[in-house]
């Protein structure tokens, strides 16, 4: 795959969308986790949190390329991406137990930021590796492009998702697509898959992955309508009076 082929440019597009979807709100999570700290510590926590998010990606991508050659790990990575895609479409869970608490001491904030960084980087790295299909140049591109998105992109990304909700559905479908592709290319499975799915049927796993994510996500969203659909605008400032 070199840069004259359409596959290369499709992979580039996929990687940019993945970085926007999975990296765009990292800074928000970090800011949320450190918002109870005193001003000076808060700035430090945000800086090191973002630094950690970038550094962890560099480290993880290095391991990911090696690890994904082990049988069944692509299957696991693909399932994780399917789950992330469904999550993207589902409304917020009410009273979910895994809320990051905004700790008021530095150590607590660091702990939560590291935990969040690890999970946020892991899904992003697996998705980049899957879309890049072991092409090292593309993996590096995915990393480089994710840095400005993590550091400066959150406002732009939130605005984009707000203005074009289709980005979220399309992004979830894309995650399902590359997840299906990744599972089909697992070291232990790809020979059987190629035998079962001759010719054009090789497109079946990514298509099924994309459909699966969108259908499950939409069904789950329909079963649990967002509770915030109250009449009239919610005025958060009114809580001052309470």
């Amino acid at each position: 795959m070199d840069f004259t082929t359409p596959e290369f440019w499709i992979a580039i597009g996929q990687i940019i969308i993945i970085d926007i979807l999975l990296g765009g709100d990292n800074a928000v999570v970090i800011a949320l986790a450190s918002r109870r700290l005193p001003q000076e510590q808060r700035r430090k926590a945000i800086f090191w949190g973002i630094f950690g998010a970038v550094a962890l990606r560099v480290v993880l991508i290095f391991f990911a390329l090696q690890l994904l050659r082990i049988p069944f790990l692509k299957l696991g990575g693909g399932l994780l991406l399917l789950w992330i895609g469904v999550k993207l479409l589902m409304p917020q869970e009410e009273g979910a137990g895994r809320d990051i608490d905004a700790s008021s001491n530095l150590l607590g904030a660091i702990k939560t930021i590291i935990l969040a960084d690890a999970v946020m980087s892991l899904d992003n790295v697996i998705a980049i590796a899957a879309a890049a299909k072991d092409h090292v140049g593309l993996v590096v591109f995915g990393l480089v492009i994710s840095v400005p998105i993590i550091v400066w992109g959150s406002r732009f990304v939130l605005r984009l998702m707000d203005r074009f909700p289709i980005v979220i559905v399309g992004g979830a479908a894309l995650l399902g697509w590359i997840a299906g592709d990744m599972i089909a290319h697992d070291v232990a499975l790809h020979e059987q898959v190629a035998a079962w799915l001759p010719g054009p049927l090789i497109w079946a796993p990514p298509v099924i992955g994309a459909l699966l994510v969108v259908v499950i996500g939409k069904l789950a969203a329909a079963r649990r309508p967002p509770p915030a659909a109250a009449a009239g605008p919610v005025d958060l400032a009114q809580r001052d009076a309470e």
Binding site: G24, V29, L32, A228, P233, L236, A237
Partner: protein
């Protein structure tokens, strides 16, 4: 009684809109009430959904909103005008128009960046959307 809803987002454009609203208030024979509204974008990312509860998200939006409103509020207080501030979450154009409608404001005053056609088409103009949706007159300050 004239009620002006001033949309503020912390930008230089919204500061100029506030200048204009304060000038109107100072020169009007009728008593003028100023209401400041800041709209925060919903936190739509998947990581936020995974890690942050709805309650914390609201709390965060509220704090971010209060930070934006602090400067404009101070200016109003220095001018001897009572500061009424409000924070909404959602699509800014929609929320501003809804708010103006449901709380019976007489006018919306807001800044506009006057972006070009291409940037406007990609990122969208909040001002355009308010003009389209608002039931009351909208003053755009450039």
């Amino acid at each position: 009684m004239l009620t002006l809803l001033v949309a503020v987002d912390g930008s230089a454009y919204s500061d100029r809109a506030l200048d204009y609203a304060m000038l109107r208030a100072a020169n009007s024979r009728e008593p003028v009430e100023l209401r400041l509204l800041n709209v925060q974008l919903p936190l739509a990312g998947v990581n936020v959904k995974l890690f942050i509860s709805a309650g914390s998200q609201q709390e965060y939006s509220r704090e971010e909103g209060l930070a934006v409103l602090a400067g404009p509020c101070k200016r109003l207080e220095q001018a001897g005008i009572a500061c009424q501030h409000h924070i909404g979450v959602g699509d800014p154009g929609q929320v501003i128009a809804d708010y103006a409608c449901s709380t019976g404001c007489s006018e919306v005053v807001m800044g506009t960046q006057g972006r070009g056609a291409l940037a406007g088409a990609v990122m969208g103009s909040v001002a355009q959307k308010v003009v389209k949706l608002s039931p009351v007159p909208v003053v755009l300050v450039k």
